[in-house]
């Protein structure tokens, strides 16, 4: 184990801003991609379904 305490861990020997800035933005990017993907999936299916109902009428 490399860390004496949690504050040590967050501090990253003075590089906390750079290290956590990298990890946080990466996590945010992935989260946004997953959310957009989910939303696009439901939107498309809903739209296609509506088009299909139109065509059947």
């Amino acid at each position: 184990m490399e860390w004496a305490s949690w504050s040590d861990f967050w501090h990253m020997a003075g590089y906390g801003l750079y290290v956590w800035g990298s990890y946080a933005v990466t996590a945010a990017c992935i989260l946004v991609e997953v959310i957009l993907l989910k939303r696009a999936g439901t939107d498309t299916r809903r739209r296609l379904k509506r088009m299909q109902q139109w065509e059947e009428q």
Binding site: Y18, V19, T26, C29, L48, M51, Q52
Partner: protein, 243 residues
């Protein structure tokens, strides 16, 4: 059963649906493991102190940015040569995630460059060619979005992807061909790795996690594209009714 069965969008739609949870869970578990190695097992670097821990996302993201591009170019080439519908759909499904990893590689690179070189950005060959890669991804996605005719769009986008593929070896070898602030590769195919085994292990676990993630999201995306393009077929209508 033969392999060509899955070249049909209908069969692939179902296969992809079954595979997605496996890739997604695999990606999640490997990420947890990789992060544990990155922060709790890997020791402090004797030159870069704790700042080097950025490597565990920077390098896998940079690998993915190049590799996804090559896979897109591969599918584009197959599509152009054999006119297979699914290949073009795969190429389209991969592009946004490739652009995402390129952005992450650039972002983490800037945050690593600042404490180590004293600069967020320098216009050297490695950084500039990676930035061009991001522009290529964005350009290809925009081209696809701009052309309403699906078939023409597929061909135009794939052609652009193939032309841009020349950039990938330039990125990869840029640290050898030109003088640069960027450090050389930590691992390559011909030499023993120049880093501690546990650091290497963390990087590889994160890279495999990134792979599984990419496959999972690309499959989700390709299913949506398949459904959209096949909406006139009976099987797609049946699926839409059932969902």
């Amino acid at each position: 059963m033969n392999l060509y069965t899955y070249a049909s969008p209908a069969n692939f739609y179902h296969l992809a649906g079954k595979l997605i949870p496996w890739f997604a869970w695999g990606a999640g578990l490997l990420t947890v493991w990789g992060l544990y190695i990155s922060f709790f097992l890997a020791p402090t670097d004797f030159q870069q102190s704790e700042a080097y821990r950025i490597i565990f996302i920077h390098v896998p993201a940079a690998w993915m940015s190049m590799f996804i591009y090559l896979v897109m170019a591969f599918w584009g080439a197959i599509g152009l040569a054999f006119n297979t519908r699914l290949s073009f759909m795969m190429a389209r499904a991969l592009a946004p995630t490739g652009a995402l990893f390129t952005f992450i590689a650039l972002w983490t690179g800037a945050l690593w460059g600042k404490p180590m070189w004293g600069a967020w950005w320098v216009w050297d060959a490695r950084l500039t060619s990676e930035l061009i890669l991001l522009f290529l991804y964005v350009g290809i996605i925009a081209l696809w979005a701009a052309i309403d005719d699906v078939k023409r769009g597929d061909r135009a986008g794939s052609l652009l992807t193939l032309i841009g593929a020349i950039n990938v070896p330039i990125i990869y070898f840029s640290v050898k061909w030109w003088n640069t602030l960027h450090q050389g590769s930590s691992i390559n195919l011909t030499k023993a790795p120049s880093m501690a085994a546990i650091m290497l292990q963390g990087m590889l676990v994160m890279a495999i996690a990134a792979w599984l993630y990419t496959i999972a999201v690309a499959l989700v995306r390709v299913r949506r594209i398949i459904l959209e393009r096949e909406r006139q077929t009976d099987w797609a209508k049946a699926i839409l009714e059932a969902e």
